[in-house]
């Protein structure tokens, strides 16, 4: 018991360290902007006064970190200690108060922008996952049951193609087929319930291919187990054996992959949202943030996406340990 508790504490410690580093990296990203961030945002037309005002408003005139090597009047650099009066400390104080700063462009709080877009991204990720599961389980079972036949080989090739086709190729092709040629759905936006079908399929395609391969190998492995022979021997139909017994056991590893993939889906949603103009976090990041050089929005989005990713992965890991005692012991 004590051993278990210590392990849990250690993992929690690493998690906190990782989150701290990720947040720190995001906060100092703005230092990477070549030249003056204020000039990059306001453009060449801005007067010195406007630039100074902008810097003061967003704290860009303050030292970035606890210490630095500023260039002095004579052109030399010397280490200098600034104490707690710096942007990095400010950022942390603000974050702990639930404040992610305000947009460089619209002055709206970044947290508000993120919360506005978050549900659309989650909706898309979950829809993509459901589509992937809906495709992968039947196909994986069929392939696994018919191992080595032309059907299995054909499905394997389709799965490989699915993994290799990037979303920005599948997405526009689907738009061409279903929006431009057939006119069944709108090419972009989020107005009607049917608008989610194409983006969700685009985002879920690679995952469904990965899952199909996993379900297949899981089914093949489980079919060799003793309990399958027993089930068959007592006269159960092949259908019952596969769907009631084999699938139930075979899905445990699949569940883990699903959890880990939720984070991947959130990151992948950036591209899918851009293709379909889906108003989620990814579109906020790419269009409002990067497109308009609104660095505070970029920081906020990167923070939101990576934190969700870390939390999803940690939860999956915990659930997996709880589900499968063999891992818990080792």
């Amino acid at each position: 018991m004590r051993h278990k508790l210590l392990g849990l504490l250690r993992r929690a410690g690493i998690l906190i360290l990782v989150v701290w580093t990720v947040v720190s990296l995001v906060t100092i990203l703005i230092e990477l902007v070549p030249g003056d961030p204020a000039a990059a945002v306001l453009g060449d037309q801005a007067t010195a006064e406007q630039l100074a005002q902008f810097r003061a408003k967003h704290g860009l005139d303050r030292p970035p970190f606890f210490f630095g090597f500023p260039r002095e009047a004579n052109g030399q650099r010397h280490p200098r200690w600034y104490g707690f009066d710096n942007r990095y400390a400010d950022y942390w104080v603000a974050i702990l108060h639930g404040d992610l700063g305000s947009s460089f462009r619209t002055d709206r709080p970044v947290l508000e922008l993120i919360l506005e877009r978050y549900p659309a991204t989650i909706e898309l990720a979950i829809a993509a996952m459901l589509i992937a599961i809906g495709i992968a389980i039947p196909l994986g079972v069929v392939a696994g049951k018919n191992r080595g036949t032309w059907l299995d080989n054909g499905l394997s090739v389709i799965a490989l193609v699915g993994i290799s086709l990037p979303s920005f190729v599948i997405g526009p092709m689907l738009v061409y087929l279903f929006a431009v040629k057939l006119g069944w759905v709108a090419p972009s936006g989020r107005f009607d319930w049917s608008d989610i079908i194409l983006p969700a399929f685009t985002l879920g395609a690679a995952l469904s291919a990965i899952l199909t391969r996993m379900v297949r190998s899981s089914v093949i492995e489980e079919l060799n187990e003793g309990y399958v022979r027993t089930a068959r021997a007592k006269g159960l139909s092949e259908r019952t054996v596969v769907y009631k017994h084999v699938l139930k056991n075979g899905l445990i590893p699949v569940v883990t992959v699903l959890g880990l993939q939720l984070g991947v889906l959130l990151a992948g949603a950036i591209i899918t949202e851009k293709i379909f103009g889906w108003p989620g976090l990814g579109l906020l990041l790419v269009e409002d943030g990067i497109g308009k050089r609104d660095f505070s929005v970029v920081q906020g989005c990167v923070l939101a996406i990576s934190t969700t990713y870390i939390i999803a992965n940690t939860l999956t890991d915990m659930i997996y340990r709880w589900l499968d005692p063999r891992i818990r012991v080792s």
């Binding site: 360290l17 990720v22 902007v33 290799s164 990037p166 959130l266 591209i271 790419v286 970029v298």
Partner: protein, 271 residues
């Protein structure tokens, strides 16, 4: 050799040759626009048709292979070198060095979704080929480091390492002459899969407008240019050919990687 890895090697060979000899293969100037020739379907004059400004898509796809190959090779070589060094140090010295490197540093880099970190870096550094390569190396090294660390941990317990130590060999000599040559095999598999990943990431970032800037014929840029509704309607081939090029290249490197894995690991060979 499985059939798939032979297909993979064939496609990879064609890809590399096309990239090297692009100026001799491409029939037309990749930058030459001609508005009277826009949206022309595939024909004998334009094998893959023309795009929205009348440029020859076949020539652009051919030159696009160059960008992909360049990014892929640099990213894989640099990430592998950096990753191998850090991983080898972590595995060889263990103790607090390893606890810091694999317990903390690796976890930090694995905690970011790779593409997001690359997007963030390029968003702040500014778009461009060199910055894209830098960003991909920063997210790429950790995969190699983890792999090599695990390998070194295994190999350093072998008898020949103990023997070398007993003969008085120093740390560096043991690490570089005895452990690494025996630990490095899986790196080839990782490098092949890494090429697929780098080609895909370059196209993704260029698609998002964060990679090679537009007139350059990056496959990602070509797809981004081909996906507006009027171009899709008039010239779907402008999307299909660069898309096929990416898919085939990624698929081929994955086939080669899988094939190498099976070849190097006899336990997997008979499946």
């Amino acid at each position: 050799m499985s059939r798939l890895s032979i297909i993979g090697i064939t496609i990879v060979t064609v890809f590399v040759l096309v990239a090297i000899f692009a100026p001799w293969i491409a029939p037309q100037d990749i930058g030459a626009t001609n508005l009277s020739m826009r949206y022309i379907g595939p024909s004998s004059a334009h094998w893959f048709g023309t795009d929205s400004t009348g440029r020859d898509i076949f020539s652009r796809v051919v030159f696009g292979a160059r960008i992909s190959l360049e990014v892929g090779i640099i990213v894989v070589v640099v990430s592998a070198l950096v990753g191998t060094s850090i991983g080898a140090v972590a595995g060889f010295y263990s103790g607090w060095v390893d606890r810091f490197l694999s317990g903390y540093l690796f976890n930090v880099f694995l905690a970011f979704p790779g593409l997001l970190l690359a997007i963030a870096l390029v968003a702040f550094l500014g778009a461009g080929l060199n910055k894209l390569i830098l960003a991909l190396c920063i997210i790429g090294w950790v995969g190699y480091a983890r792999l090599i660390r695990a390998q070194v941990l295994k190999v350093r317990e072998y008898d020949f390492v103990q023997a070398a130590r007993a003969l008085g060999a120093g740390d560096l000599r043991i690490l570089f002459l005895h452990i690494l040559p025996n630990a490095i095999q899986p790196l080839i598999v990782q490098a092949s899969l890494g090429m697929a990943g780098a080609v895909l990431s370059e196209a993704s970032l260029s698609f998002l407008g964060l990679g090679v800037p537009p007139p350059a014929p990056s496959w990602g840029v070509m797809i981004e240019e081909a996906r507006d509704l009027s171009t899709l309607q008039a010239a779907p081939h402008a999307l299909i050919f660069p898309g096929l090029a990416i898919a085939l290249t990624v698929l081929a490197f994955n086939f080669v990687g899988d094939g190498l894995r099976e070849y190097l690991d006899p336990r997997q060979r008979r499946r």
